[in-house]
């Protein structure tokens, strides 16, 4: 480790480079689909969309939400949001959607990923796969992309769950859509989906998710081997490339390194963990490292968050693949009740030994954010663990006041200090 690394308040994860290389290859291939094969098709898919079916059909899945994260990290998302606003998309709408529309309309590259082909933005899609298990906004968003590009869209409609059990008619309706989904893909691709390939993809997906879960669970150790920014960057393959063996390989390397940190008693930050906080919601991408490192300097670590936990879904294995997929995709975090979210945050806070919770109240994601004031009060009342809401946004810098956020965070740290007395 270099002297410079020693001076840093956080420890670099070497295996992050493996993940970054995998993602770079992925975007390179998506921009040049002819390099790898004879003309692969491209699908834009929501983060709750059933990606395994695309991978099994040799279709390249691309995630406009992930592009929002990339553009945000590159500090270009606000400009792209403004481009979208000039085309009529109101500033109150989802910043991922506005970033995506901005990249479609932007007359002025370079936008993120333009280094690959000089055009910027994601590669143009041949089809759209929209799962409304993460929010209702994606439906309107993808409808409009479908209109702009004049390409087909498949809607995967998963009724929001009202409790922990999936009603029979919900399940049957959802399974029937997976059957239609296969027909949709087969028609577009002009070939059948091979069952063996699909099973192999599902197996890779399960392995990737299990490895991801193991990596996350190591956060329960003290000191925590990972901080928020690490997880937010490491999650890219489990979102976008779940189902590929490359993801399994990358995560095996990550798990080995994280486990080694645990074995050696090394934490993600180089200072004492005075404050172990849970982070709720999507991160502030345009301020990712600044935000978490500044907090690390104050001895704050985030051993757990709700966003990356969303991809540690439990796999159901009954031998009926469509049934199992329907159960898994219905049980997506944002498709469940507020009570489920409260219980989960409460349990995670306890399991990961957190002494505080930071709720990111994000104006451009209503589904994730509305309900947080109640969550905060209820969890504090039940566990004594204090929490504060900070107002911000995942991609639109205009919606984030750093000073205001810091005032609230400092108040939280003071409460935690008082609780220790």
């Amino acid at each position: 480790m270099s002297t410079k690394d020693e001076e840093r308040v956080y420890r670099r994860l070497d295996s992050l480079q493996t993940v970054k290389n995998q993602m770079a290859m992925y975007y390179l291939q998506s921009k040049n689909p002819y390099l790898s094969d004879e003309g692969k098709k491209i699908a834009w898919v929501t983060s709750g969309g059933p990606v395994e079916f695309l991978i099994a059909m040799d279709i390249i899945p691309l995630y406009p939400e992930q592009y929002g994260a990339i553009a945000g990290s590159a500090k270009d998302s606000t400009r792209l949001c403004q481009v979208a606003e000039a085309h009529g998309y109101g500033q109150d709408l989802c910043a991922y959607a506005r970033t995506s529309f901005g990249s479609i309309f932007s007359p002025d590259p370079p936008t993120p990923l333009s280094e690959i082909d000089g055009k910027g933005g994601l590669a143009k899609p041949d089809m759209l796969i929209c799962g409304n298990n993460i929010c209702g906004t994606v439906l309107k968003w993808y409808q409009d992309v479908s209109r702009i590009y004049n390409i087909p869209m498949f809607l995967f409609d998963t009724p929001p769950l009202n409790g922990e059990k999936i009603p029979k008619h919900y399940l049957e309706y959802t399974i029937s859509q997976l059957q239609l989904y296969i027909e949709f893909l087969e028609k577009l691709m002009g070939r059948r989906m091979e069952e063996e390939t699909m099973l192999e993809t599902m197996s890779n997906s399960r392995q990737a998710v299990e490895l991801w879960t193991e990596i996350l669970e190591l956060g329960k150790c003290k000191p925590s081997p990972l901080n928020c920014a690490d997880r937010f960057l490491l999650m890219a393959p489990v979102v976008a490339q779940r189902g590929l063996i490359e993801t399994v390989t990358s995560y095996e390397a990550v798990l080995a390194e994280v486990q080694q940190r645990v074995d050696n008693g090394k934490g993600a930050i180089t200072v004492d963990e005075t404050y172990r906080l849970l982070f709720d919601n999507i991160p502030i991408w345009f301020n990712l490292y600044d935000f978490f490192n500044k907090l690390a300097e104050k001895s704050v670590v985030f051993p757990v968050d709700t966003y990356t936990q969303a991809w540690s879904t439990e796999f159901v294995e009954t031998g009926d693949m469509l049934h199992d997929a329907a159960v898994m995709y219905s049980n997506i975090y944002l498709n469940k009740t507020l009570q489920h979210k409260i219980d989960l945050i409460k349990n995670l806070s306890i399991e990961y030994n957190c002494n505080g919770i930071l709720y990111h109240s994000m104006r451009s994601c209503k589904r994730y954010s509305l309900g947080q004031p109640i969550t905060r009060r209820e969890i504090t009342a039940k566990t004594g663990i204090p929490g504060v809401l900070i107002e911000g946004d995942m991609c639109d810098e205009r919606n984030f006041s750093e000073e205001q956020a810091w005032t609230r965070i400092e108040a939280l740290l003071e409460i935690i200090d008082l609780n220790k007395i």
């Binding site: 998309y89 209702g136 409609d157 929001p160 029979k168 008619h169 309706y173 509305l370 004031p373």
Partner: protein
């Protein structure tokens, strides 16, 4: 024609609406349990057949402004925040139960959970329509949702196992819808002002359907005899929007040019019929095939419906009225605007909240739009 010339005056309607809480108390005295709902995706005929009284929950009335901030962030849909403000001021104790249309917009979806925390003693139920109505199983799914609704309502509100006679309730609501459609024709002919019609529509979703039908029939007779319409006045404006419901906005003179709407509580709530002899699954299919809500999958269907309104009412211009912080409005107006641009139909896009805090700005913009159309 002024409504005061008929049995119920516009003032009485306004008062009934403005004193929403008092109106509910009066209804409650009639003995039927009151069931509140937010959107058109609630099968009112089923409620009626079960001897329950369905009422639309409105976003105006006495409110405790800002009280909802304890539970809802400021970026939640302005319409739902106001409804929460009203609930926190007046209480919704008179309402025996609320049916939420789940799976619609994100604000309403989350509100259904938040509501349970804020008003824990109130009975609520989530009814979720399928979004993908082209799916062959969508109607079976919706039928099951309706069956579940009947089951939970029975267990909560019915004292005995009487058979539910849906057909007579369908007949009553079909009459109501047909009468409102007829009256919308008089609005188009300028025999009745749109602001009075808006009041009538909201009023008709509060009172018992039997009372409403009696009144509507009387009104139609009088309107048929009324000879002094002002059909020649132009421009003729169509109001396009979603859940906006504060009729007071339409009382300003600039809105006198409205001849039709496609609002959720407006045309989209009465421009359809349900086969009278239908029970599930034909009944659920009829509900599924209605004019789409803003949150539905079929955008082309909504644009086709707008085209029919534009042609049918000989429209000169369109006002797009969006609610602050309403995602479906904000998203759907873009393809609608594109369509109107392609068709060279002038339009004005407005945004407001139920408290109409930007009334003066709206008046100015409306005046300029009317001048441009004239």
């Amino acid at each position: 024609m002024n409504l005061s010339q008929t049995g119920v005056s516009a003032h009485t309607m306004g008062s009934t609406l403005d004193n929403y809480s008092k109106t509910l108390n009066t209804l409650k005295e009639k003995g039927k349990p009151i069931i509140g709902y937010f959107t058109n995706r609630v099968p009112v005929e089923i409620l009626h057949a079960m001897n329950l009284h369905p009422v639309r929950i409105l976003s105006f009335g006495q409110q405790n402004q800002g009280a909802s901030e304890r539970y809802l962030q400021t970026f939640a849909c302005s319409w739902l925040r106001q409804i929460m403000d009203i609930g926190l001021a007046q209480g919704y104790e008179t309402i025996d139960g609320i049916i939420f249309s789940a799976g619609t917009c994100d604000s309403l979806q989350n509100l259904s959970d938040i509501w349970k925390k804020v008003f824990p003693d109130q009975w609520t139920h989530n009814l979720t329509f399928p979004v993908l109505t082209s799916n062959p199983l969508a109607n079976e799914y919706l039928q099951s949702e309706f069956e579940t609704l009947i089951e939970v309502l029975s267990s909560r509100f019915l004292k005995d196992d009487n058979e539910i006679k849906l057909s007579s309730s369908i007949k009553l609501y079909n009459i109501k819808r047909a009468n409102l459609l007829k009256i919308s024709g008089f609005v188009s002919e300028r025999k009745m002002k749109y602001n009075e019609f808006a009041k009538l529509l909201l009023f008709s979703d509060l009172l018992p359907v039997e009372t409403v039908n009696e009144y509507l029939e009387k009104l139609i007779t009088e309107l048929l005899d009324f000879q002094n319409g002002t059909a020649a006045i132009s421009p003729r404006i169509l109001l396009v929007g979603g859940m906006y419901d504060n009729y007071k906005l339409f009382e300003i003179p600039e809105f006198d040019y409205l001849v039709a709407d496609d609002l959720a509580f407006g045309t989209r709530n009465f421009n359809f019929q349900i086969p009278q002899d239908s029970f599930l699954p034909r009944y659920s299919k009829a509900y599924m095939d209605r004019i789409p809500e803003s949150t539905s999958f079929d955008m082309n269907k909504r644009i086709k419906f707008l085209e029919e309104l534009i042609q049918g009412h000989n429209i000169d211009g369109i006002v797009l009225l969006g609610l602050k912080w309403c995602d479906p409005d904000a998203f759907e107006f873009i393809p609608i605007q594109n369509h109107l641009d392609e068709q060279n139909i002038p339009y004005l896009k407005l945004e407001t909240s139920p408290d109409i805090s930007n009334l003066q700005q709206i008046k100015t913009r409306m005046a300029a739009f009317i001048e441009m159309l004239s």
